[in-house]
Symmetry: C2
Subunit: 209 residues, 2 copies
């Protein structure tokens, strides 16, 4: 039962510095069933970008219209540009059995919790606040005030951890990755995600591959 009929939306979030992006990259490499959902943005296309491939490029007016219509699973404004994940394309991918992983900040995860039913929410924890401080400080030659603000942000993000289904402590990348894979595989075995399997079994053969 490693493959479930209905796709899985795996939402992975963490305070910055906890190492979530590395984990997400490894997950995507290990499981080709994960699909990217093409996001919308109001920023101008860069050279080589094609509408509908990297992004759906929209005017701000059109984007704001879609926000009002509740068409986004989540959206955010970053450096003056709007970015969003269209709910419709997420549902289309899940409906045909594809999995989607969201590598997203805590605010984005909060939005997804209210728009995505059946999503699985994983929070990556740093081994300690001290270690998080070391990692944030070690990123470069940033001023102490910037590091202090990042750490303050991270503390606030940590407070959101109880809203997530799973916690994975990233003190050892390999073990954290194994645990993430286990969360994914266990979730595909959930009976509620495989309503047709039981019927197929009672009828005849189960093809679990």
């Amino acid at each position: 039962m490693s493959e479930s009929a209905q796709g899985l939306a795996l939402v992975i979030s963490a305070p910055s510095g906890a190492g979530k992006s590395t984990l997400v990259r490894r997950l995507l490499q290990a499981y080709p069933r994960f699909t990217f959902s093409v996001s919308c943005t109001t920023r101008a296309p860069r050279q080589g970008e094609r509408d509908g491939r990297e992004y759906h490029f929209l005017s701000r007016q059109r984007f704001e219209e879609l926000i009002r219509q509740g068409s986004f699973a989540e959206w955010a404004e970053v450096h003056g540009n709007l970015y969003g994940t269209p709910l419709e394309s997420v549902e289309a991918i899940l409906g045909r059995g594809g999995h989607i992983v969201f590598d997203i900040d805590v605010q984005g995860a909060r939005q997804l919790r209210s728009t995505l039913s059946g999503g699985v929410f994983v929070f990556i924890l740093p081994p300690s606040v001290q270690e998080l401080e070391n990692r944030l400080a070690g990123r470069g030659s940033d001023a102490d005030s910037i590091i202090a603000r990042r750490l303050e942000d991270a503390r606030k993000e940590l407070e959101e951890a109880p809203a997530f289904d799973y916690w994975i402590v990233n003190d050892d990348l390999d073990r954290a990755f194994q645990e993430l894979c286990c969360v994914y595989r266990a979730e595909t075995c959930r009976s509620k995600r495989n309503p047709e399997l039981h019927e197929r079994l009672l009828r005849g053969a189960v093809d679990s591959s």
Copy 2:
């Protein structure tokens, strides 16, 4: 976070012939944190058995008293003897962080569902009813009528599958075992099972080992 503070009760059930006992044995070998709970029975001790080690040996009168008091997580009568798992010892093991695995039939699992809060219920599925029939028939030189009855029982047991949290198809023993391990590891990462972890993290170091 491979080790959670509160122990886990993993209940594994299946129609007969689905191969659950082999999976449970491998799980116990792989994870020494699983503990056995000593059951109660009304049958007489066999040579070499000691009260409190293999079983708590009770009179039928005492056993029936305990049933009336709701002291069993589950109990059953088998070949005229009563067998039961004392709820108190299960709670003691879980409370000190031990895990318990139940290798139990569908009826026993149904009882555990009402007595064990927070238990994780896994159903092992045969690849198909046809395959189950082959396995049950292949066990020896049993009469056709016995095989037919076993298959009828198995079909009834299969109908209980929707009450379980997870389904694992045992068409490939190694893969089924991996999935069972993933269910176990994922469940230890559940935020609701680690209420202290978050607090420890905000306070200081997290020891996830």
